[in-house]
Symmetry: C2
Subunit: 243 residues, 2 copies
DNA sequence: CGATATTTTGATCGGTCTCAATTTGAGTGG
DNA sequence: CCACTCAAATTGAGACCGATCAAAATATCG
């Protein structure tokens, strides 16, 4: 992907939006309508139900996207990782359909829906790219639905851990969990006690090693984890696979 | 929506695709690349994992879309209803990510991905419409994830029944279930016995009335159902809301 | 070092699954 | 029209998984 002279600081939005539609005329004042955001853990990008006006693109860091039932029960939908859109689903609506919260320090850009629509209209190629992105998200959501509906708690945790591997090729078995036990439980439709218990059990079985804080863990037996997770070869939880 | 002279038999694909992008030049030989399908209950449109080449649009009838774990456990993703795309998620992939099976008599059109991509490239308006459709599906998938992750079996069934109401405005409280108990359980991540028990319980509590076959039911106490389903006002399960 | 949040672990309860039997309904052919 | 067959739905009894409530242990941070 080429550099983008319009954006001296190499904004990701530029790389993704402008450079992907170089063929067409890039709208000049684009950088003017892009806002940059710097967030600390626990900061909220936006709340579910809130009137929506902007979509975000993560430059770095990690966010969790959650939606709640009227009585307050929370369910994690996915982790928002670098180079992913956040809040895109509200494009044709007037409200955000989930809450986005930073769980690590986060750098993000944002853009008004209105401007995004304008850009999309001018660039069929970008529109096609967006369709591809949405299709991929839909497939990941479907995998999540399957996992929540059919998997046991152990299977959910095993497959979840496998998706948190930093890289496919790199046999790096060290994972720094960006999530607390509560967050993890929320993502998996479980309670924090269940998550803690199962991680302890895996640790005892020498499948993983849990470092003191409970946040850093090593995968000792990837084969075993894969077996516990129904041998899902593809990415079953929608966390990674930004590609 | 205007009639479409290109298609004498008023194919839904024409209405949706061609007429929605009338402004641009409609590709002439479109009807040539559209296939029509007539399916009986239990017929398969396509299998999960199968090489994908065509996307479908339902004219009439009802299909269930399911995805399975490697060991065979099945999870329903959504019902495919009239005027909805089916198999669209495979557009940029080579394989169908779920199985589509007719559960009523079904009329459908289909189109090669290749041709669809061609049409999309030529019609930015259609591409925008597709982005809207995918966004809506994504929001419904997220609601399903929330419901599977957080709701009790009773809550799932109550909210599911509410989404099967034929119409919002029409106070028609009669539902002809297109699904067997097994199918329903599959959609809700439950067992068929649990579904049957809870429906019986609701029937005893005079919240619904179950007609003999178990397939026709009346909603007697819509308020009560809504309360049992966490008072979800929006459509929490991704079945209806075609519009 | 002390205060607070997070994690771990334990004991118990309840909801849902599992296995099993029975009932009911739909379809078939005599 | 009625027996027969087969599939679907209902109902029951018991087991098990995960939730809940409660307490202790361990990190993190000022």
């Amino acid at each position: 992907m080429k550099n983008c002279t319009d954006c001296p600081d190499k904004c990701l939005f530029c790389e993704t939006l402008l450079c992907s539609c170089q063929a067409s005329k890039p709208p000049r004042p684009l950088q003017a309508v892009i806002q940059k955001h710097s967030l600390a853990p626990k900061d909220i990008l936006f709340h579910e139900g809130e009137p929506a006006s902007r979509l975000f693109l993560l430059s770095s860091g990690c966010t969790k996207l959650t939606t709640a039932l009227p009585d307050g029960r929370n369910q994690g939908l996915r982790l928002g990782m670098a180079r992913q859109f956040i809040g895109f689903e509200g494009l044709n609506e007037q409200r955000y359909s989930y809450t986005a919260e930073a769980i690590t320090p986060v750098q993000a850009c944002s853009l008004r829906y209105q401007d995004m629509l304008h850009i999309l209209e001018q660039s069929p190629q970008l529109a096609m790219a967006v369709i591809g992105i949405l299709n991929r998200e839909l497939r990941r959501s479907n995998a999540t639905i399957r996992n929540l509906g059919q998997m046991s708690s152990t299977e959910r945790i095993a497959s979840f851990l496998l998706t948190l591997r930093p890289s496919e090729s790199d046999p790096q078995d060290e994972i720094l969990l960006p999530l607390s036990r509560t967050d993890m439980a929320e993502m998996l439709g479980l309670t924090l006690e269940t998550v803690s218990r199962i991680l302890s059990r895996m640790s005892h079985a020498n499948i993983i090693r849990l470092q003191p804080g409970g946040r850093l863990l090593h995968i000792l037996d990837q084969e075993g984890l894969a077996r516990m997770s129904c041998d899902l070869d593809d990415s079953p939880w929608p966390q990674l696979a930004a590609s």
